[in-house]
């Protein structure tokens, strides 16, 4: 994973609550077996059906921070959703809250989910709408978001933050504890279900 320390970029305001992962990446694109190349399909139906949709507006081209409403990323667990955001150039998503699985998926790939209080997220939406050229800085080291007279701290799980700052490979970290995993395996009851491999 690419480390995430600090990012400065322009915002795309998506003023909708409960944006589900079916909207972020519709199912017909989930048949691909590659991890990259999902960017063109991001918000496919909304982009196709609504000329005024934020990602169709030239003034938001090149935006790298998505600002959205509460409960962003609800629904399906498809990691294709954060992949498509990342592939389309986004480095962070700011919203009042995130669905659990989506947030975890983002953290695993280095796309930073930043939860801000409702009023602060609203202020950023307004800033981005008033002046699309406004830049925002998301600083993971200081855990702050700042933009044109706006500055607000945010919380992030300290372990997830450490992994992001260093770009650590989560599997490699866990494999350092292989002896503890083996010890747990040795303690498991013999009657627990197992399927004989073919």
């Amino acid at each position: 994973m690419e480390p995430f320390r600090r990012h400065e970029g322009r915002m795309a305001p998506l003023d909708r609550a409960n944006v589900d992962t079916d909207q972020i990446i519709p199912k017909q694109f989930l048949k691909r077996i590659e991890r990259s190349g999902f960017g063109p399909f991001l918000f496919y139906d909304w982009r196709r059906n609504d000329p005024g949709f934020v990602l169709n507006r030239p003034e938001y081209e090149g935006a790298t921070v998505l600002v959205a409403g509460a409960n962003f990323g609800c629904g399906s667990s498809r990691e294709h959703a954060p992949w498509s955001l990342q592939d389309a150039g986004f480095r962070a998503v700011i919203a009042p809250s995130f669905a659990d699985i989506f947030r975890t998926n983002c953290l695993k790939i280095g796309l930073l989910p930043v939860a801000l209080p409702e009023a602060s997220a609203r202020r950023l939406l307004e800033l981005a709408e008033e002046d699309p050229a406004t830049t925002v800085t998301v600083d993971l080291e200081s855990r702050t978001v700042s933009a044109a007279g706006f500055c607000e701290g945010f919380e992030l799980d300290p372990y997830a933050r450490e992994c992001l700052l260093n770009g650590w490979d989560a599997v490699a970290l866990t494999l350092r504890h292989e002896d503890e995993i083996a010890a747990h395996e040795a303690r498991r009851e013999s009657w627990l279900p197992a399927i004989t491999p073919p």
Binding site: R16, A17, N18, D20, D22, Q23, P26, K27, Q28, L30, K31, R32, I33, E34, R35, D45, G69, A70, N71, C74, G75, S76, S77, R78, E79, P82, S97, A99, D100, I101, T104, N105, K108, I109, D157, P158, Y159, D169, A170, V171, T174, L175, H177, E178, E180, I181, A183, H184, E185, R188, E189, S190, W191, L192, P193, A194, I195, T196, P197, P198
Partner: protein, 464 residues
């Protein structure tokens, strides 16, 4: 010390607990399917790693599989995904129930079918409806592809302990009201993010009186109100369901397992962080009118006035006018299927409404059993004839039109009464409009061509 069901299971699965780190939890059962795993296997191989516990990993094909014509009917991209799963399972030595196998089916239906889903386990799958397995008193949750890779490589996951939320529902269900109505009513009240960060335990006499199938329907939709985990304490209903299934413990092991399972339920003095209470007698048959599962109304009610721009947008997408009686909404399609409502009991309940009647001429109706085994069991009871005689299509098992990754999709503008779990925009096909409801209510809608109170079709006595 007293503890909740979730706390007890959690504590028994902690491999490592260190200050500042989430707990490292051991995973007893990892269910995999074709859509959310190819990239995980690819990364694993690129890193030169192996699958740690193929014996605790089970694969099936369900999400993109055709329900007519088998694998040959899949498109090229879909078939490539099925081929990739087959190749990955062969490489790792993982048991795969491919299309055509008597054990193939929706991943959340085959786990219980096979007796692999058991009380006290930690179960994960790259699918948000993994919460279904919580009905057995297991901690079960959906994960993304990076976490699938992590579990394949380590059989563990880093997790923060969830908050404990009790949902207590007491009283007998009114006539015509089934498990699906319980969970739709709950979500309408709690909101679609109401369970965020929580392990939900469904409790109370209403839940105790439900079958395993009904409990699975409720736990399945835990994710639809944001909960990480939804569970029901194991009891005699659970044990009776499990006994004799292919992978359930046998002989002396069965007795040992029973002793362990009986110690799992939440202790009487244990405290939950939060509690929601519902009275069963307030519940009615519910149908969604909007584009998320919390936007539901009683079938006897009306399409509401929008309370905000998101609701107004939902009504525009659904092409509905506030004040319209729910029962005046005409439908084009009916889908009886999905990991929410495609088990044998669901098909029986729908068939009881359909028997001896005809599907409305304008409606195209389809039944997609949850698994190949459910299909066989239903056919042994003649349910396939009941549906076919009424004009329903009787298909092969899979996720099908719940998410429309296979050829079963709505056309733009089509309106569907569906027993599935999500009514998101375009979920069942771009431009399609979904109304979520129970299997008996879906069956009733198929007969009349519009949303209808099932109690009017079959009478209150039968609905009981």
């Amino acid at each position: 010390m007293s503890a909740t069901l979730a706390q007890k299971i959690w504590d028994r699965h902690v491999v490592r607990s260190a200050p500042g780190e989430p707990d490292l939890l051991f995973v007893d059962l990892h269910l995999i399917h074709e859509v959310t795993t190819p990239q995980a296997f690819e990364s694993l191989r690129m890193a030169g790693r192996r699958v740690r516990r193929p014996d605790l990993t089970v694969a099936t094909m369900d999400h993109n599989t055709p329900t007519l014509g088998g694998r040959a009917a899949a498109d090229d991209v879909g078939r490539r995904q099925l081929d990739a799963l087959e190749e990955n399972c062969r490489w790792a030595g993982i048991r795969l129930f491919e299309l055509g196998s008597p054990h193939q089916g929706i991943v959340h239906v085959i786990g219980p079918d096979l007796g692999l889903t058991q009380p006290g386990l930690v179960i994960v799958c790259g699918d948000s409806h993994t919460s279904t397995h919580g009905a057995f008193g297991a901690i079960a949750f959906g994960i993304g592809t990076s976490e699938v890779e992590h579990v394949l490589a380590t059989q563990c996951l880093h997790q923060r302990r969830p908050r404990d939320l009790a949902v207590t529902i007491d009283g007998p269900l009114p006539p015509g009201v089934v498990a699906k109505d319980v969970v739709l009513g709950l979500i309408a009240r709690a909101g679609i993010a109401g369970g965020q960060g929580c392990a939900v335990e469904y409790r109370g006499s209403t839940i105790r009186d439900l079958s395993m199938e009904g409990r699975m329907t409720i736990c399945n939709m835990s994710i639809e109100w944001g909960a990480r985990v939804g569970m029901v304490a194991p009891d005699d209903t659970t044990f009776a369901y499990l006994e004799g299934r292919a992978h359930a413990p046998r002989g002396a092991d069965w007795d040992r397992a029973l002793d362990a399972w009986r110690a799992l339920p939440t202790d009487p003095e244990a405290a939950f962080d939060e509690e929601i209470r519902l009275d069963a007698h307030e519940l009615q048959p519910f149908v969604t009118w909007g584009t998320n599962p919390g936007q539901a109304a009683a079938v006897t009610g009306r399409v509401p006035e929008p309370a905000n721009e998101d609701e107004a947008r939902a009504l525009r997408y659904m092409a509905l006018t506030p004040g319209t009686a729910m029962q005046d909404i005409a439908i084009d399609r009916v889908f009886i299927g999905s990991c929410t409502n495609a088990r044998l009991e669901d098909l029986r309940a729908a068939a009881a409404v359909v028997r001896g009647r005809r599907v409305h001429p304008r409606v195209r109706a389809m039944v997609v059993p949850g698994s190949a085994l459910v299909k066989l069991e239903a056919e042994a009871e003649g349910l396939d004839r009941v549906f076919a005689d009424a004009g329903f299509e009787w298909r092969d098992a899979g996720c099908s039109m719940c998410l429309g990754m296979n050829p079963d999709v709505l056309q733009p503008g089509e309106r569907c009464a569906s027993t599935s779990n999500r009514n998101f925009e375009g979920r069942q096909g771009a431009g399609g409009r979904t109304h979520l409801l129970s299997p008996p209510m879906a069956a009733a809608a198929a007969l009349t061509g519009h949303l209808v109170d099932v109690r009017e079709i079959i009478g209150e006595e039968v609905a009981r």
